[in-house]
Symmetry: C2
Subunit: 212 residues, 2 copies
DNA sequence: TGTACATCAGTGAACGCGCGTTCACTGATGTAC
DNA sequence: TGTACATCAGTGAACGCGCGTTCACTGATGTAC
């Protein structure tokens, strides 16, 4: 072979990693094969030595992005006291930083709507990663039955990714910030309220009379 | 002119209306100009007598879809007692029927993520329609200060459209239904809990020990 | 009222372009002897 | 250890195709006289 034993695997991984950023930035159909290969320092002709089709790369790149998110949050949780794990994930998710850097952020707000329209195979691959992420999130909600934790994880993820999509549509101004704040408070409030002793109002998120 | 006075306006409206369905079904880039004109019973060459560009049609079709949703919900609310208006919207939104017919459903889960990546002009046009929809939703949340209602409307819409996107990614099976249910319960629960006398658990949505 | 002309929504061929994919070729390296 | 050959990741030209857009043309109708 032209290159050393692990060279191909490294190149493959580099293509996938770079593609996962570009696809989150520009959408599942927003970047061409030639550009994706250029990102990895290659020419487009060699693409099919690594992937059966463009769609196959899309699937791998999504899986990579989802795995990275799930793993990052799991590690973040490990370094946080159990009762603050979930809140720390939500708070780092619904930020202007995340909103303004989709390429390095969660793949769900960036790509899920498009994926839902792809082939069943692609869609199912994404759904499996979604399921993993939900389970990981449920692990971070202590002191409630597992079924409740899972429901909370699903609803929270929906609220988080939904707020992120809306915030990106709204741009970077006041309206966009308002969406991030409303989403963050609602998710944190709901989950803390579901705990046995957690019905007291959270800081800045009174249930009846807002101070702000 | 070849056609009677109002003929052009009618044709224009027909193109926009049909396009709003096709674009929600297949995405903002998922249908070509030729197909969109064919839907209206025309050939592609005449397109530019009606629109400056394909993107101009996309903007009009989105505005049309958003206006229809906002108006439909407003009317639905008028025929419902004030304290049940919001719940009736949420319940009709997070259904398998809506999930399985994106072409006639809410434009936000279908298209918002793509719109966020379009030109500032297109994005802002969508953001303005989003703002209108949020205001309409806030109108349906009684008995709380306006600021609270608006926050609830934003967070609820994020949860609703997010759950719809996730449910569509999950397909039509059990997992997908679980997402719709979790989203519905979370949104209804959160809003009813924000009311002065509304802290009691909702039917089937116990806060600590689920029955199902 | 009747007639000639101007209008312009709609037609269908054509344009240029970018895309995903294919393919003959290259050449540095691993392997066989 | 040294040499000839086989391998195959990567190159770059080419392919076919569909897309958004342009354009010369059509012909039924509104309008001017």
């Amino acid at each position: 072979m032209r290159y050393s034993r692990e060279h191909k695997a490294e190149t493959h991984a580099r293509i996938v990693k770079n593609a996962s950023v570009r696809l989150r930035e520009h959408g599942a159909h927003g970047v061409g094969v030639a550009d994706l290969m250029k990102d990895a320092g290659l020419t487009h002709g060699g693409f099919y030595a690594h992937f059966d089709s463009r769609e196959a790369l899309v699937v791998e790149a999504f899986a990579y992005a989802m795995d990275r998110s799930t793993e990052r949050w799991r590690k973040k949780a490990e370094q946080t006291p159990p009762d603050k794990r979930f809140a720390s994930i939500v708070e780092s998710y619904l930020t202007p930083l995340h909103r303004d850097d989709p390429g390095h952020g969660c793949a769900i707000p960036a790509l899920a709507a498009e994926i839902a329209r792809e082939s069943p195979k692609t869609r199912k691959a994404f759904a499996a990663k979604l399921e993993e992420m939900i389970e990981m999130l449920a692990d971070q909600i202590p002191d409630v039955p597992r079924k409740t934790a899972r429901k909370q994880a699903i609803a929270s993820l929906a609220g988080m990714m939904g707020a992120m999509v809306l915030a990106r549509v709204a741009g970077t101004g006041e309206f966009s910030g308002e969406i991030l704040t409303a989403g963050r408070e609602a998710v944190l409030d709901r989950v803390s309220a579901s705990k046995p002793g957690g019905k007291k109002a959270r800081k800045g998120v009174p249930k009846q009379a807002p101070t702000a």
